[in-house]
Amino acid sequence: MFQYIVRRLLIAIPVLFGVTVFSFFIVNLAPGNPVEMFVNPDTTQADIELKKEALGLNDPIYVQYVRWLGNLVQGDFGYSFSTYEPVLNMVSSRIGPTLLLMGTALFVAYLIAIPIGVLSATKQYSWLDYLSTSVSFLGISIPHFFLGLGFIYIFAVQMHSLPTGGMNTLGSEGGFSDTFKHLIMPAMVLAAGIAGRMVRYVRSSMLDILGQDYLRTARSKGLREFFVINKHGFRNALIPIITVIGIDVSVLIGGAVVTEQIFQWPGLGQLTIQSIGSRDYPTLMAINFLAAIAVLSSNLLADIFYSVADPRIKYD
């Protein structure tokens, strides 16, 4: 197994390299450049050239890539084209809120979805099964922005019970309960799709297990149904679910872009939209790169957990 983990890590290296190349080049081959942002009637051609030189935009593209990569290794993501702040500062101040949002969403989604999925499978074709199937399809199919707008309309506009957006009430001290109130709606929106998919997945994985002979054996031994489902069924059904977590992280990040925009949540998703508007390439590269690293490492972790959890996996 140790060998498998090492092999898996080695495979990640070329992928990581591909990720850097891809994120650097697509953004850099874009038409237009940040200098245009500073052009006003008073700027001369010489000013523009100076600015370009200062930003290193005149160097060949591979030089820019190598420089970027070299800096990256040292934790230097360059300077924002729009605010002149170090990208690292901009990004790091946004990571916290995004992680809070995504973590809450993932936690809530699994907390709701796994028991429902298991119940749905053990009571297959009951009204509960039909209800959970319909609701999970709704969760999978509804776009984040529509659900978000619907939530705002119901909970903020009609019921006045939750704030429409942001992370803290303006002018207030903030604090845990205030942040929590702001967190509820975006986290629910983000959780809906993940939970819907997870219910479907747990259900079918559980149904597979419930059909196995060893479960019938467990029952015939006279074990109580709770033990049969929990010890023999559920634990084995959870194993294939591990592999979905990596995919979920990718979906979460994409969903965070839209959700943060709707709820003005000050995270990386919102920063992405802002950076696209201002053609802030270094920031976009940094966010994309970080997101890819997050997906890559969660896939890696999922694979490793999977190999630990399922002794049947072969390591070659």
Partner: protein
């Protein structure tokens, strides 16, 4: 059956020192840590018009040999010379062309037919791919071949799943036959079939041989099946031929202890003839990844001596060759 003397016969296919090793991979970078020697130095000459059988237990490398001969899993070492051409040196175009003369019938009639193709298309395809037949003739040829293998042209529009195992094997035979090949490798063509159907398919193969002057390399795991169909029999053990002789010689005068042991596994209907000295094998077939030193059969041979444990015997003899230090008879 074939009464021509061996020196007058023309070799159709020659297998020289054929070796097929499968690597065993392990570790982080998939290092090759060992080899499974499925076929380990096999020599065989097949003459035109004969049926030669390759017999041995599961895992002795007989199917691997068959697949290497038709270049489905090309050999690690050695030569397969067919119609005077060494197959591994041919370009892919030349190889594809020569394949029209070199066909194979598979063991499993269920996995050997594409489930998505109608029987008519399945049989027309080889003709169209090689442009051997005029397009207008294809349909008639397919009808003919179906008739020949005992099916009807009304089966053309059906899918494989609508047929029984025996019928499917007939379709497999028709597909191999339609290109009018010289040599057909029959890879245990009846072992997946019910006993009652086995005889029908064997008879069909025999009839076809007469009608189309075919040469067969017939692969089987027991001597019983091949008795009626073979001119010569080669007994394989652990990747090597241990005895090769005319069918009647193998049955009347087996010289290798392993051949004898195999014969004992084949029931004799007449109790008065059950007088042969019994040779009972001990233990299992050794792993081809780690074959024993000396004669590969020594660990299971009741007659083994010291020399058998240290020195591998070579195939000896003219008409009746055997690889044993102490041949019987």
């Amino acid at each position: 059956m074939s009464l021509i003397k061996s020196d007058e016969r023309t070799p159709l296919l020659e297998v020289q020192n054929l070796k097929k090793y499968f690597p065993i991979k392990k570790g982080i970078i998939s290092r090759t840590v060992g080899q499974v020697k499925a076929v380990d130095g096999l020599n065989l000459t097949i003459y035109e018009g004969e049926t030669i059988s390759l017999v041995g237990e599961s895992g002795c490398g007989k199917s691997t040999t068959g697949r290497a001969i038709v270049q489905l899993d090309p050999q690690t070492e050695g030569k397969v010379i067919f119609k005077g051409k060494e197959l591994s040196t041919l370009s892919s175009m030349e190889l594809r062309k020569i394949r029209t003369d070199l066909q194979i019938i598979f063991q499993d009639p269920y996995s050997s037919l594409n489930p998505r193709k109608r029987i008519g298309d399945l049989l027309a395809e080889p003709l169209l791919a090689h442009k051997l037949t005029d397009k207008s003739e294809v349909s008639r040829k397919v009808d003919d071949i179906l008739e020949i293998v005992g099916l009807s042209k009304f089966h053309k529009s059906r899918y494989p799943h609508e047929f029984s195992g025996g019928q499917r094997q007939r379709i497999g035979i028709a597909r191999a036959l339609i290109l009018q090949p010289k040599l057909i490798v029959c890879d245990e063509p009846v072992s997946a079939l019910d006993v009652s159907i086995q005889a029908q398919v064997l008879n069909l193969l025999k009839d076809l041989q007469k009608e189309f002057q075919l040469t067969y390399l017939f692969i089987a795991h027991g001597l019983g099946v091949v008795k009626y169909i073979s001119d010569r029999i080669a007994v394989m053990y652990l990747g090597k031929i241990v005895e090769l002789a005319k069918t009647e010689d193998i049955f009347k005068n087996p010289r290798h202890p392993y051949t004898q042991a195999l014969l004992h596994a084949y029931p004799i209907p007449n109790p008065h003839l059950r007088s042969r000295e019994r040779i009972v094998m001990e233990g299992d077939v050794p792993s081809p990844a780690n074959p024993p030193k000396g004669c590969s059969f020594h660990a299971r041979c009741p007659l083994a001596q010291d020399i058998c444990r240290s020195q591998a015997p070579a195939l000896q003899g003219d008409e009746h060759t055997v690889a044993c230090h102490f041949p019987l008879g």
